[in-house]
């Protein structure tokens, strides 16, 4: 049994995980009950495992759990505010952007991050934000429409400046 402890904040809650050195973040997240993070390819291509790490989308299937130590994670479970859905979630439902729903958590997270960074994105920017999430059901049209609609409906705010990644802790 490993003595490797990872301290991480998940959806605003401090967590303490005991992990094996070779454990991947996706496996640990699902083991910890965060089933909204999906397994699709384990090679970082489909993006179904995407979560926000310190606010930036990453593929949890490619990250070692140990590398999340001291970081903040946001999964789909942390997007809604209790029963109050995030505007992107509402828009996805209103625009028929959810079919099988397997890639939906990843799309919602990438869209949320996009709109915080760029509140009134162009269609090209939306597609770029979704370019790392593969969907086999929707053809991407309604997800793109939903995100643009959520952006249009949002009150005008200044976007956060692009986060600079921390080079080291």
């Amino acid at each position: 049994m490993s003595d490797l402890i990872v301290h991480v904040t998940v959806n605003g809650e401090a967590r303490r995980w005991r992990v094996e050195p070779g454990d991947l973040l996706l496996d640990v997240l699902r083991r910890e009950g965060l089933w909204g993070v999906k397994r699709g390819c384990e090679t970082g291509e489909c993006g179904a495992c995407a979560v926000l790490l310190d606010g930036e989308p990453i593929n949890s299937c490619l990250m070692f759990a140990a590398q999340a130590d001291g970081r903040e994670l946001l999964t789909i479970e942390g997007v809604a505010d209790g029963e109050k859905l995030h505007p992107v979630q509402e828009a996805f439902l209103d625009h028929g952007a959810v079919q099988c729903g397997y890639c939906t958590p990843a799309m919602v997270l990438c869209a949320k991050e996009l709109l915080e960074r760029s509140p009134k994105p162009t269609e090209a920017e939306v597609r770029e934000a979704l370019s790392g999430v593969l969907c086999r059901c929707t053809g991407y049209k309604k997800p793109v429409e939903a995100i643009l609609a959520a952006a249009a409906a949002a009150p005008k705010t200044r976007g956060k400046t692009a986060r600079r990644r921390r080079a080291a802790r």
Binding site: L4, E20, P21, G22, D23, L24, E42, T43, G44, G47, A50, L53, E56, P57, I58, N59, C61, L62, M63, F64, A66, Q67, D69, C110, E128, A129, S131, G132, V133, A162, R164, R165, R166, A167, A168, R169
Partner: protein, 291 residues
């Protein structure tokens, strides 16, 4: 998948990283450096026994240094893509190339050091770095050594690292004068590993003659390469349509492409010609030359 890993180290200094690497190496079993994991995890070597994680090292930076720029090895592709400094350098070809790598998620994880050390023949950053005469700084037991990038790649997934740690990439300041650079990438779809990628850079004198040319190709040989004979064809010559055609033809002849699921060798060779041509044409436009 990586169930045999006994240790995952997270050093905070290069010296500590080298010590840990050496200590584990002596303990035995196969181990590696890991940064973003975007190549290592995909490669799935289940015999790995130990890893030394580089993401806590202070190597995420883009800074001006004497004679040029230095990019820390663990700088993420996303940072390179959006770096104001690099967007302003050499028509932004480094930033542009970084932006074509994988997806947003991948770029937030992948590092320039990892991209180069993995030494895929299709490595997206290699052609622009080669075109900029970049070199890499490797830290090892005996101290640091600098290796020009065109001598760093030794074969498919093979480099001159020799167990050392790639810590920095050095880009010398381009020569003064009328200079322009271009990056081209061809994939099957928008987000893809390159079928062919290429970078070109030219420096022209007042008469519009090329005093220096750089043409670098990727995905058409075991390593990214400089098309030196094509470069030689351009140097000392007016940069015009005929020169570009000749250089593009020569560059295509210097390629050694293979056939794989992304394209046939013949197609790659033909695309070499097209991409070098487009790269040089874009250089000409950028430098204000009409062809």
């Amino acid at each position: 998948m990586f169930d045999r890993i006994r240790a995952f180290h997270r050093p905070t200094s290069v010296a500590q990283a080298l010590r840990l690497f050496e200590a584990e190496r002596r303990r035995g079993g196969r181990g590696r450096w890991v940064a973003g994991g975007t190549d290592l995890v995909v490669q799935r070597e289940r015999t790995l026994r130990w890893l030394v994680d580089l993401t806590c090292l202070p190597l995420g930076y883009v800074r001006r240094v004497r004679g040029g720029w230095a990019i820390g090895a663990t700088t993420h592709m996303a940072e390179i893509e959006h770096s104001k400094t690099l967007l302003a350098l050499a028509n932004g070809i480094l930033a542009e190339a970084a932006g074509t790598c994988g997806s947003r998620q991948i770029r937030n994880m992948a590092t320039i050091g990892g991209n180069l050390a993995n030494a895929s023949p299709a490595c997206d950053l290699a052609p622009p770095l080669l075109a900029l005469d970049a070199s890499v700084v490797i830290a090892g037991r005996g101290g640091r050594r600098t290796v020009p990038l065109d001598r760093f790649f030794r074969g498919v997934n093979r480099t001159a690292l020799n167990g050392g740690l790639l810590v920095e990439i050095r880009v010398p300041a381009p020569p003064k004068g009328k200079a322009a650079w271009s990056y081209q990438k061809l994939g099957r779809l928008q987000s893809d590993i390159a079928v062919v990628n290429a970078s070109a850079g030219v420096v022209l004198d007042e008469r519009g003659f090329c005093t220096r040319a750089r043409i670098a190709l990727g995905a058409v040989a075991p390593t990214p390469l400089r098309a030196r004979r094509a470069e030689a064809l351009l140097e000392g010559r007016r940069l015009d349509g005929a020169a570009i055609d000749a250089a593009a033809d020569q560059a295509a002849a210097e390629a050694k492409p293979v056939t794989d699921v992304r394209g046939t060798a013949e197609y790659r060779r033909a695309m070499c010609r097209v991409l070098v041509s487009r790269a040089l044409e874009e250089c000409a436009r950028r430098v204000g030359r009409s062809l």
